[in-house]
């Protein structure tokens, strides 16, 4: 019984964690290649789900074609235009003006979404109709399985692209040392643009996967953005792999903490404490611990600065 519950919590934690990972990877990629800390990441995800819904209604098309269409729109707006209009002019003044600008951008997107699509949460179609599969005592929804599968395929494809293609490696090189990349003739500006396009793609994918569960709502971007940021810090800001694992970790730890803190049996006593109100603090404690003791992230590497 106990083990079965543990596995169940793990599986559903992985399903949410996979989506968090998608959110965090794009966040970390932007930071690596361009030094952009994008606090509008959550709003990008939120509004992408509205764009998908809007296209479905407007063109009377299914979820999948609407997703691909939304992906191109998102790449144009949150990839190309975001970089050209906001990031390029501001980045030369350092990180902080850009951080503040992205926070402002997030607010604008949030309020515009509310004005255009209203404040009510809207249901969002799932890629597959949720059927509950039972393995032994384990109950897993097909929707969760598809979510995990799609997230893993996207992340694996991204890793392959980054490691196995010349363009991907040029992006990695740009992320690791921009000056040297430029000296070698890598078109650094284009590589950075590619990262923004990839981030826009990841953001739309995350919207596709997360919204059936969390619903399309103008205010949900704040939570998404916070999670992406936390996952990236916990896992390691300077590595795609770190952000990835950070995302999964938050999904899983959240679940385990909620379950196991609900009834904490004090050893050698009959006292059982209900600590469920404090479960939220566990990922935050992890975050603080990482910042204090391993600021490069659990799976990150120390920044090496050449002199």
């Amino acid at each position: 019984m106990q083990l079965q519950f543990f596995v169940q919590l793990l599986v559903s934690g992985i399903a949410t964690g996979a989506i968090y990972a998608l959110m965090a990877v794009g966040f970390a990629l932007l930071w690596q290649t361009s030094g952009t800390i994008n606090f509008a990441q959550g709003e990008f995800i939120m509004v992408s789900s509205f764009i998908i819904l809007w296209l479905m209604g407007l063109l009377h098309i299914g979820l999948v074609p609407a997703f691909f269409l939304a992906m191109f729109i998102s790449m144009f707006i949150f990839g190309f235009l975001f970089k050209r209009i906001l990031v390029d002019p501001l980045l030369k003044y350092g990180d902080v003006p850009l951080i503040i600008a992205t926070i402002g951008l997030g607010m604008i997107i949030r309020e515009l979404t509310r004005i255009f699509w209203g404040a009510n949460a809207l249901p969002f179609p799932s890629l597959v109709k949720n059927k509950i599969l039972i393995f032994g005592g384990l109950r897993v929804g097909t929707a969760d399985l598809v979510t995990i599968a799609v997230a893993i395929v996207i992340i694996a494809a991204l890793q392959l692209f980054l490691n196995k293609t010349f363009v991907g490696r040029s992006m990695e090189a740009t992320a690791q040392n921009q000056d040297v990349a430029r000296i070698l003739g890598i078109n650094v500006d284009r590589m950075i643009l590619y990262t923004f396009l990839i981030n826009a793609f990841l953001v739309t994918s995350a919207a596709l996967l997360v919204t059936p569960k969390l619903l399309a709502k103008f205010s949900s971007g704040e939570t998404f953005g916070l999670i992406a940021f936390m996952a990236a810090i916990i896992g390691g800001f300077n590595q795609v792999r770190g952000a990835l694992i950070g995302g999964f970790l938050i999904g899983i730890i959240d679940n385990l903490a909620k379950f196991y803190l609900a009834r904490v049996h004090l050893p050698f006593t009959d006292i059982t404490l209900n600590l469920s109100p404090y479960a939220l603090a566990i990922p935050l404690l992890l975050l603080i611990g990482v910042i204090l003791f391993k600021p490069e992230g659990i799976f990150g590497r120390k920044e090496e600065r050449s002199i």
Binding site: L9, T16, R110, A119, R139, K213, L214, L215, S276
Partner: protein
């Protein structure tokens, strides 16, 4: 220049003249509570339209000014304080208890009656003579749910509540009433707003093996909880209150909501002709089904209208005094939709409904008549 000054003075004197009466409407237009806040504000605006079409209040046209609290208590306090500078006749809103508790002192200080959609028990227990509810608070409605559960043969329960003012108030009232009825509370689980995955709570509920789950979380989280329960194949019955049974939750949770039962103060499904007329008018204007908050906002405006007419002026102090221990029937004022009685604290007594969800729709399974236990009936 002179002409400009004169026209400004003229404008001022026009707006000061009593051919219009101002209501400020603080509501959760943005932020986490936007679903309820917009329902509330739309209900208020519809009422204003209906009142104005019928000649206004004491001959004055109703003007509403919606103020966005952003679902943030300090903001709600600030916008109300600012709105009160215009000397409105009444404050209509907000809905979230966390905001009301913080901002109700502003209206009290300005000696302006305030009607709120909030249900936290503590709001009417502080001796504020200007605060009025539009539905019974948790202390009025939760005993009805728990009693209903007892009647259904429930002997043990798991409480799942949201960790905010609303959820904690509901949890406290539920624990007390379950205790009085001899229902064993096996576990209380705290959840967060915007929580994505309710699997841990559902598994805990399975593990402790209670007869029923009592769910007291916000709208979207209610839907997620019901979906998680369905996914884990939980068959134990789920009971709740207005939020759990609201139209929003039904829309979002789909067939996972079937079988959920409980008690609501107000529902657009109520088999009451006035409610059905309201619903039709609301749907025609806004294109969506009103929830209980829209009805509360609508009713608040008509209570204010009726009281101004009873007093015969827009004397705010007199209106607040008069409303305590008053009964307003639908014959007095059809806009209140159902007879409503106020007690000495601003709490109300009204017919309420037992509801269960069948095929994705609210079905009224019983009407609990007005208790007639307030000073209005003595």
């Amino acid at each position: 220049m002179k002409r400009l000054l004169i026209s400004i003075v003229l404008l001022f004197s026009l707006s000061q003249a009593q051919d219009s009466v101002l209501f400020i409407v603080p509501a959760e237009i943005s932020g986490g509570g936007a679903t309820v806040g917009n329902n509330w504000a739309d209900g208020v605006k519809l009422a204003a339209e209906h009142i104005n079409a019928a000649g206004g209040i004491l001959g004055a046209q109703v003007v509403t000014e919606v103020l966005d609290t952003q679902t943030d208590p300090p903001t709600s306090k600030a916008v109300i304080a600012k709105g009160l500078e215009k000397n409105p006749f009444a404050v209509i809103g907000p809905v979230y208890s966390g905001s009301t508790i913080v901002n109700m002192v502003e209206a009290e200080r300005a000696k302006t009656p305030q009607w709120v959609g909030s249900e936290a028990a503590s709001i009417t227990q502080q001796g504020n003579q200007f605060i009025f509810r539009t539905s019974s608070g948790q202390n009025g409605s939760i005993p009805k749910v728990t009693k209903f559960m007892k009647d259904e043969g429930i002997n043990s329960v798991v409480i799942i509540y949201v960790n905010n003012e609303f959820g904690q108030g509901g949890r406290a009232a539920a624990v007390e009433n379950f205790g009085n009825l001899g229902i064993d509370v096996k576990l209380e689980l705290s959840t967060e707003q915007q929580q994505a995955d309710f699997t841990p709570e559902v598994l805990q509920a399975i593990m402790v093996g209670a007869d029923a789950i009592f769910a007291y979380v916000n709208e979207e989280e209610s839907a997620r909880l019901l979906i998680a329960l369905q996914q884990q194949g939980v068959t134990i019955p789920v009971f709740g209150e207005a939020v759990l049974l609201s139209q929003v939750v039904l829309d979002l949770a789909g067939d996972a909501a079937n079988g959920v039962a409980g008690h609501v103060n107000l529902t657009a499904e109520a088999p009451v002709p006035a409610v059905q007329e309201f619903r039709a008018a609301f749907e025609a204007k806004y294109g969506y089904t009103p929830d209980h908050n829209a009805m509360k906002g609508y009713i608040a405006m008509f209570v204010a209208k009726e009281m101004a007419e009873r007093v015969g002026s827009f004397d705010k102090l007199a209106v607040a005094e008069q409303l305590h221990c008053s009964l307003i029937t639908t014959e007095d004022e059809p806009g209140v939709l159902m007879d409503i009685a106020y007690d000495e604290n601003g709490d109300i007594d009204r017919d309420t409904f037992l509801i269960s969800i069948q095929d994705g729709k609210q079905v009224v399974t019983g009407v609990l008549p007005r208790l007639k236990n307030t000073c209005a009936d003595q």
